[in-house]
Symmetry: C2
Subunit: 397 residues, 2 copies
Amino acid sequence: MKTNYKLELVKKNVVQLVSESELYNKLEQSDITIKFGIDPTNSDLHLGHLVPIKRLKTFQDLDYKVTLFIGDFTARLGDPSGTSKLRRKLSPEIVQQNMSSYQEWIFKILNPDKTRVVYNSKWLKNTDLESLIDLFSYENINTLIKRKGVHQRLEEGKPVSMLEFIYPFLQAYDSVKLKVDIEIGGEDQYFNFLFTRAIQQKYGQKPEVIMTLPLLKGSDGNKMSSSSNNIIPLNQKPDNMFGQIMSINDEIMFDYLMLLSTLESEQITEWEKKVRLKEVNPMNIKMILAKDIVSQIFGNEKAEYAEEEFSNVHRNRKMPLEMPEVTIEKAVEISDMQEALIYFQFTASKRQAKYLIRESAVRLNGQTINDPFQKYSPKDGDVINVGKKTFKKIIIK
Amino acid sequence: MKTNYKLELVKKNVVQLVSESELYNKLEQSDITIKFGIDPTNSDLHLGHLVPIKRLKTFQDLDYKVTLFIGDFTARLGDPSGTSKLRRKLSPEIVQQNMSSYQEWIFKILNPDKTRVVYNSKWLKNTDLESLIDLFSYENINTLIKRKGVHQRLEEGKPVSMLEFIYPFLQAYDSVKLKVDIEIGGEDQYFNFLFTRAIQQKYGQKPEVIMTLPLLKGSDGNKMSSSSNNIIPLNQKPDNMFGQIMSINDEIMFDYLMLLSTLESEQITEWEKKVRLKEVNPMNIKMILAKDIVSQIFGNEKAEYAEEEFSNVHRNRKMPLEMPEVTIEKAVEISDMQEALIYFQFTASKRQAKYLIRESAVRLNGQTINDPFQKYSPKDGDVINVGKKTFKKIIIK
């Protein structure tokens, strides 16, 4: 296969690429180290993680090996890039648990035979102060201090931990240790990757090619991340995931199509146009998207079943056509689902609200609610129904 | 001996003491760890180092053991406190050399039987990243960044090394490792000592008592330090040191008396008054000072010999009474001694200047100059003489 063709495939949708010519040269070689680093800081992988993982799959399909860098050591510090609060240190046990859960899900997409898994504790655990001092002496901290999250907190007198400065050094050291050729990550990693390039050069290595991919947005329009409470986790039932994908708004849907579906860009662009011209119901496209993603992770059979389930609950009841809408000025503060039932006038009594929920009569966006105290804050487009006939759609002005 | 009396002795001249009541409690115990840390970053100890070392001697005279912390590991980073440039890393060989030279001189003052010598490489060398991360997580860097030298360089976009942040952590770790009770140092160490106190507490230890002493000024009125080129080194002949002490100006002389002499404070204060009233020639007091210091380091016999030498050259020739003065506007740029002879009109030819110097006919502040190319920049009060009769005193306006 021509290198030019490979180049087009692997660089699709990249945000930052440093540099295209370097990438071209790397692709000409068969034995290169392609790094994707992931710190098992949380128990759940989510759809956002799928974006770089799918890119690794593209490399594998082109017959390259990829290397999964499990940051089991650095996870214990937490990567503080872009966060405005200090991360707490994690225990080795928690990291271990997260780690095995991560691999389980990643290998639903990646080919294990073309994946090398390395743990950075292997070298970091035994790194002595002497080597660290060498490492730390190779770059100044001027740029690290200027980073948005850090600078602002310093100005405001809020605490900034030493670990936040150490993290980029250790991330770079990982690349030095395995002489990484290409590093893939989210666009929030761009700074750290540049830092890594600089450090690799100090160690006499060729700097790695940087490839960053867009960050997937959650249903609230912000970057999908566990700390934002807006994730679509991988670790859930196919039909639940199907429902969650169906609940994202139409604008974000096209990002998901570009970044996560197996569909061709041309097809997606055409749909986008048709949706804008109201020639196509976006719901139909979202169905295709949801099925595509669920199928990639769980296989085709489960995806079809999930689609059927969703249709039974929503489509067959013609939910979107007949639904009354409740418009509220802005997101009101509602603590839980039982309160929501009262607020949106499904019932007037708390006792009845609880009863309905406990009887499994209440659904939020097609998913049955079983706990009256399940936390809830209204989002634009939310659909709540009680029983088979009472549907209300929530519109936030 | 009463603790109150001990307290008065050890706290004499301290700049910062944190805290007096804690110090009192420590002094009541017999088995305490009194730390003085010194990084062998240079080959020469100088009179400035003598100030804390003499304080250690005071503790020894009160029958306490003291602990000399040789920063053989941290020396390789260099303590960047208050410096405005990055220190280069030193090789282990250089550090080793400096280290043995340091001890040779320190034990001219201290009693080896009451001195414990520890090298911080012992624990720092084998400290793993895991322990370091614990250490680094115990304090935020907010205060470190605000330090004058650091903050200013960051503002100006000048490089700031990670090692500058690591240094205070490692210094604190030293105190943690040996559960230090009292730490002694120059007043420029106050910030690091406070940082150490905070870290010790995070490790569940009682914080060390901080005792800082004034920084000795060099002949140029700035802090005596190797990088300022104004030191009076310990590693030289007694009569040279005598001459150098004689060349300090009258104002600084009283600091030296307070910090380095064995004389009583009352005596010093009285002399200060008398000098102000011109009842005493400061030269006579300076002679006592020089002899006292030289005697402490080299013994009485050598001090007397040095005094005699100095008197022969200077006093017997009535140098201070008969000398013509050369007044210059400010320190002119003169490269070496041969040029100085021409500039101050001892001779008109370079050839003759060289000849005079090579014949040992030229002295600067009583010390024979043998190298025509010895670097020289004029200082207020410098006395140059050629042969036995031609003296000139340099006055800088």
